[in-house]
């Protein structure tokens, strides 16, 4: 314990946060810089600086989490520290919920209000007549209000709910079960069970991501693109951010699997595993919302 007295672990000064800030700045400045020729440093499409920033962030994550794991394994954290971590993760997940809420909210607004309004619903006849005369609203929206403007990718069909998405739903729900089985094994002190069920969860997670990638390729081949008007926008941004979160969650669980193999965690003390499991269930619940509101309805 680094401080003289008291039982709450107070860490020594740390270099990791500033490294994280430098990495974040480099990554985001590099990305913004690559988006246009009018911006400094990187030419359009040149992502070198962004990749350097990402490398710095990955370095920081290994260093920072590594330090936390060493401190945890050395028994430096008491139950009060554990509670702080739990609260931290809970509120972080809440912030993620609100991030998705912004995109879900946009989807509901567009589907139930703004697209019908563009077609003249309620008292918006003038909007329709003067802006986009003859526009007939529909969902999925495939004939754009400004059909003449061009630039919008027209799709032949949308991704049906009962093919890959339904399969993916089953995969993710199953992975939620295997994740809980892993937790039960851990609490019973069954190390092999923990590793096995974690492995199963991670495999299911990555298979999900693989199917999503396959579905995206298919979508692009039938013309459903990010640039397919607002349907493509909401479809890809919602499922895309979800897929990103599945990937992050699967990486977290992979780390837990390796830690399990190294003999980390006890049946009482395994917050890192629980945090990853919470995150996984959160990702699961978001998917159910997506499945219903993006695919089925």
């Amino acid at each position: 314990m680094s401080q003289a007295s008291g039982s709450y672990y107070l860490p020594e000064p740390s270099k990791w946060p500033i490294i994280g800030s430098i990495g974040m700045f480099t990554m985001l400045f590099g990305f913004a810089s690559s988006l246009s020729d009018k911006t400094p440093i990187m030419g359009e499409g040149d992502l070198t600086m962004m990749y350097i920033g990402m490398a710095i962030i990955i370095f920081m994550l290994f260093g920072w989490f590594g330090q936390v794991i060493r401190e945890s394994e050395s028994g430096a954290y008491n139950s009060q520290v554990d509670t702080s971590f739990r609260m931290g993760m809970m509120w972080f997940i809440f912030s993620e919920v609100m991030f998705f809420a912004a995109f879900f909210g946009a989807l509901y607004y567009i589907r139930t209000l703004s697209v019908p309004w563009l077609g003249g619903a309620d008292n918006n006849l003038a909007t329709n007549t003067f802006l986009y005369d003859g526009f007939v609203p529909s969902w999925p929206l495939n004939v754009m209000p400004d059909a003449a403007a061009g630039g919008y990718s027209v799709f032949k069909e949308t991704i049906g709910a009962w093919g890959i998405p339904a399969l993916n739903t089953a995969l993710l729900l199953t992975s939620g079960v295997t994740c809980t089985l892993a937790h039960w094994a851990l609490k019973k002190g069954n190390r092999t069970g923990l590793t096995f069920w974690l492995f199963a969860t991670v495999v299911l997670g990555f298979v999900f991501v693989g199917f999503q990638a396959y579905e995206y390729i298919h979508a692009y081949s039938i013309g459903l693109k990010l640039s397919s008007g607002v349907y493509g926008s909401t479809f890809f941004m919602l499922t895309g951010f979800h897929g990103l979160h599945v990937t992050i969650g699967a990486i977290m669980l992979t780390v837990m699997m390796f830690r399990s193999m190294k003999g980390h965690f006890t049946d009482e003390n395994h917050f890192a595993f629980e945090a990853a499991a919470w995150y996984w269930h959160f990702v699961d619940v978001v998917w159910l919302g997506l499945f219903i509101f993006v695919y089925v309805l």
């Binding site: 000064p13 702080s84 991030f99 912004a102 209000p145 400004d146």
Partner: protein, 524 residues
């Protein structure tokens, strides 16, 4: 206490520049936040000076219109995200652990990161000013399509700066909630917490709830600008008004994020100098929670003129004016606390009183703006500018200044210079009203906001406003001088500092030792 204190001597503050970069100490990080906020106050303030210089007289005088627009934009962004919010987080860092008897923040390393993202985000934001096409020029509310179709190339840097600022705020808020919920000394029950702690708990919840929504809004902007999406483009089935909804779903809680901690500060200061306990403590807590709840269901009152169903206008009108009830409870309680108190008027009290009076003016003009039919006249005029500067300058900023005067002796161990402080207070109070009060009249007479030139009929009030702004800006240099002088020396402060002060932070030595409450105090 003294033996515990001696034990800490060899764990005092490390020296050198890297102390500040690597620190995990809540007091160091609080200090960093406060200095960063002050630096940003000067940067944002200098932009305001450019704006007022251009508006000193009708006609185009000094800057071109695009640069003027980017000045109003950057002024707003820097003041909101760079000055006011970090200043409150800095105060929370310094005070919350001391007030609840905690040894530090719950997650000290993450605390460091929350701060050290800010200078990088600020650099990213300010760097846009030097890029081809200039900096963001669409107002701090960055409405689409001004910020998408018609914006300069530098806007993508602005977007990522907002992402970083949001990330910092979310982590800082998680830390504050975990600290308050998990680190309180034995006996410090929720309903015994100082109000500053209560208001920050609720503010942190608001931040975690809405900063991600802002991140969503700027992400949609990013993809609309660069990757062909149509969220805010009606031609592709989207809607620019959607941007306003998403933005203000963040934006309205955001304005309460900037005022709830101010309520907390004032609720700490007034009882001290009235030498009475705060009147209606529990009603203050419930009022704060009510305001926070209502803040989520009033956002479209910023958009009354954009075209909404009448039912929507009415809902947002009624929900908005409802906020006057819990706010009225607060103002009533402050006044009732002073009623028959043994009042003295040290500088923190002067600022707090100025807050109560001038913030209330801003509140009333807000009430006027909240009434949809009359808002059709006020919308996007200088009346709005006057309103939000009364709540943000004489509200939020004044409370921050009051807090600095109140706790500065605890931080530095010295009393500040009373005469310099009086100069600062009186010049500020006179000039701030000269600056912003005439803007009500300009707005009512129809002068639109965010324009570099105006009808000659508005000349006199604009001249007054500009003179006031220059004076108010210069007056803040007195504040800087006072703080530096107080750090360097001055009359030794006692532990309690103020005769009527109550709370754990007044029971530890002045200046507060580097580590406090390693052993949790018992709160009765």
């Amino acid at each position: 206490m003294s033996t515990a204190h001696a034990e800490h001597e060899h764990h005092g503050a490390p020296s050198g520049l890297l102390r500040w970069v690597f620190t995990t100490n809540h007091k160091d990080i609080g200090t960093l936040y406060l200095w960063f906020a002050f630096a940003m106050l000067l940067v944002g303030g200098s932009f305001a000076m450019v704006i007022r210089l251009e508006l000193l007289q009708p006609g185009m005088q000094w800057v071109d219109p695009n640069f003027f627009n980017s000045m109003t934009t950057m002024h707003g962004l820097i003041m909101v995200f760079g000055a006011i919010m970090p200043a409150f987080v800095g105060l929370a860092n310094w005070l919350v652990p001391m007030m609840i008897g905690a040894p530090d923040m719950a997650l000290p390393r993450m605390n460091n990161w929350s701060f050290w993202i800010l200078p990088f985000a600020g650099t990213m934001l300010l760097s846009t000013m030097f890029m081809e096409g200039g900096g963001p020029n669409f107002g701090w509310t960055f409405y689409a399509p001004l910020s998408t179709t018609y914006a300069p190339a530098s806007t993508d840097f602005f977007i990522f700066a907002v992402h970083m600022l949001g990330f910092s705020s979310i982590m800082g808020s998680i830390n504050i909630i975990a600290t308050i919920m998990n680190m309180r000394a034995p006996g410090m029950t929720l309903m015994k917490m100082p109000l500053f702690v209560w208001t920050w708990l609720i503010t942190a919840f608001l931040l975690i709830a809405v900063m991600p929504v802002l991140a969503g809004a700027v992400t949609m902007m990013l993809t609309d600008r660069n990757f062909g999406t149509s969220f805010f483009d009606a031609a592709g089935g989207g809607d620019p008004v959607l941007f306003q909804h998403v933005f203000w779903f963040f934006g309205h809680p955001e304005v309460y994020i900037m005022i709830l901690p101010a309520f907390g500060i004032v609720s700490q200061i007034i009882p001290t100098f009235a030498r009475k306990r705060l009147f209606g403590y529990s009603s203050m807590v419930y009022a704060t929670a009510s305001i926070a709840f209502l803040s989520f269901i009033v956002w479209a009152h910023h958009m009354f003129t954009v075209g909404m169903p009448v039912a929507g206008e009415l809902f947002f009108l009624y929900a908005t004016v409802l906020i006057a009830v819990p706010t009225g409870v607060k103002v009533f309680n402050w006044v009732a606390t002073m009623w028959q108190g043994s009042m003295t008027f040290e500088l923190p009290m002067k600022w707090a009183l100025a807050f109560v009076i001038l913030f209330t003016i801003g509140g009333f003009s807000g009430l006027m703006l909240g009434i949809a039919p009359v808002d059709f006249q006020y919308h996007d005029t200088y009346f709005v500018v006057a309103h939000f500067h009364y709540v943000l300058v004489t509200g939020a900023l004044f409370s921050i200044i009051a807090a600095v005067y109140y706790w500065l002796p605890k931080w530095t161990g010295h009393m500040y210079s009373e005469s310099l402080g009086n100069w600062h207070f009186w010049t500020s109070i006179v000039f701030v009203n000269i600056t912003f009060f005439p803007q009500h009249f300009l707005g009512l007479a129809g002068m639109p906001r965010r324009i570099p030139d105006y009808n000659a009929a508005f000349a006199d009030f604009n001249f007054m406003s500009s003179i006031g702004a220059f004076g108010f800006g210069l007056a803040q240099l007195l504040f800087l001088a006072l703080v530096i002088k107080c750090i360097k020396g001055g009359e030794k402060a006692t532990d309690q500092v103020w005769e009527g002060a109550e709370g754990l932070e007044w029971e530890i030595p002045s200046p507060a030792p580097y580590h406090t409450f390693a052993e949790a105090p018992e709160v009765k």
